[in-house]
Amino acid sequence: MIGDSFLGSTFIALLAGVPLTLQLVVLSVTAGAVLAYGLATMRVSGKLSLDLLARAYVFVFRGTPLLVQIFAIYYGLGQFPSVRHSVLWPWLRQPYWCAILALALNTGAYASEIIRGGLLSVPAGQIEAAMACGMSRFTRYRRVILPLAIRQMLPAYSNEVIVMVKSTALASTITMMEVTGIAAKLISASYRPIEIFACAGALYLAVNFVVGRLFAAMEFALSSERRAAPSLPGPVVRS
């Protein structure tokens, strides 16, 4: 059986950490995307106060190490009695929510710049054309700006999500037993770091392979204009 060999049993033990790793990724990337969209609209709003606020946020969270942010949120916030007595403490008490919070705040900063770049890449002529057609602001975003912006930002954003998958490994520093946390524990029991880290690395590769394919599929779906039109029935001659 696969569980009998050392590699097999290591692999099975590490698999138990995959659900937690995925939860950390999905929750933090989702929350981070919402935050990033808000920050990006602040940046392109044209209002100086909102712009400066978003710039300051991005400066701080993009300019400091994620590990420092995780420690600051997990150990730092817990030092203040006012935080410990606040309504947020039942969540901040748990390493799980601290990890998600730190990861979300961090990816929010990076992703906001990606979204801003996407929004700015939409040609002015396209927006003007949409306005000329009498589209409302909402329709304009839905039908013209966002599809174009999302298509532009997908390659950069897929990078960001892949980085996030790997960044969840840092949650092991605040006692979370995700893939890397379990790997560290297994190493301390067997002293065979090469096999165990190879297994852990393979799991991250597998997750990131799926993430990469998902983004490739989205890119394909959003770039129909770059493909040849589907052939029509009948004798249509094409060059």
Partner: protein, 279 residues
Amino acid sequence: MNLKAVAIAVVMAASIPVAASADQQVVRIATEGAYAPWSFSAPNGKLDGFEIDLAKVLCERMKVKCEVVPQNWDGIIPALVAKKYDAIMSALSVTPKRKETIAFSTPYAAAVNTFAVLADGDLKALPGSGEAYSLDTEQDAAKARIADMAKVLQGKVVGVQGSTTAATFVETYLKGAVQVHEYRTTEEHDFDLMNGRLDAVLANATVLTAALEKSDMKDAKLAGPLFSGGVFGVIAVGLRKEDTGLKQQFDDAIASALKDGTVKELSLKWFKLDVGPRG
């Protein structure tokens, strides 16, 4: 300079350290450096503590030049095997599992572990405070006491440093009763005890005693019995299995330092009690 000359120069440069170390053997000793008062970083950034002092004494007696290097606890044994250094002096307990991978010198200290809790927390009346049990010679009494404690500890969150004998202890005796959180250092679990994330921590009694002297831990106290022996084992120098010559040197140096009272003297200096191996 032609290619041949470059090659010769490279080979010569590479061979210089070998020639230099032939005069005097250099032994590199790894320590965690975050386990006061055994080993810690002093405010000036230098390593200090019981094991740093002891390493100096042992190296003098072994007539070798020593270099003490800091190393994260969780990789300390794999890095020894990978020859990043030659010995470990880091309150490293002798356990059967570790003996499969590395060799140990004769022990230079006993390992006594106990719990710390918040002085006004739910666990302030943990049974067995003030008692001491050897898991080797008083196994039945210790187990009965642990069973009493397990009732009080039911559902509580206990912090331990990962890959330690304290982690083995909770795994062996309190599995199912408590929720265990594993930390990279004891300092981190101390933080979380004070934050209220943990109900108790289990660690080496000398380390907890030193930590409790700090002002930010004034609201915590030791609780429950002192446990020694069994899973906690004794503390010795960790060495690679093939380095039998070095093991012999360490064995002789430790034996002489135990015999003339140097270990006891250093122990009293750092722990205010004698942690020397008994018997």
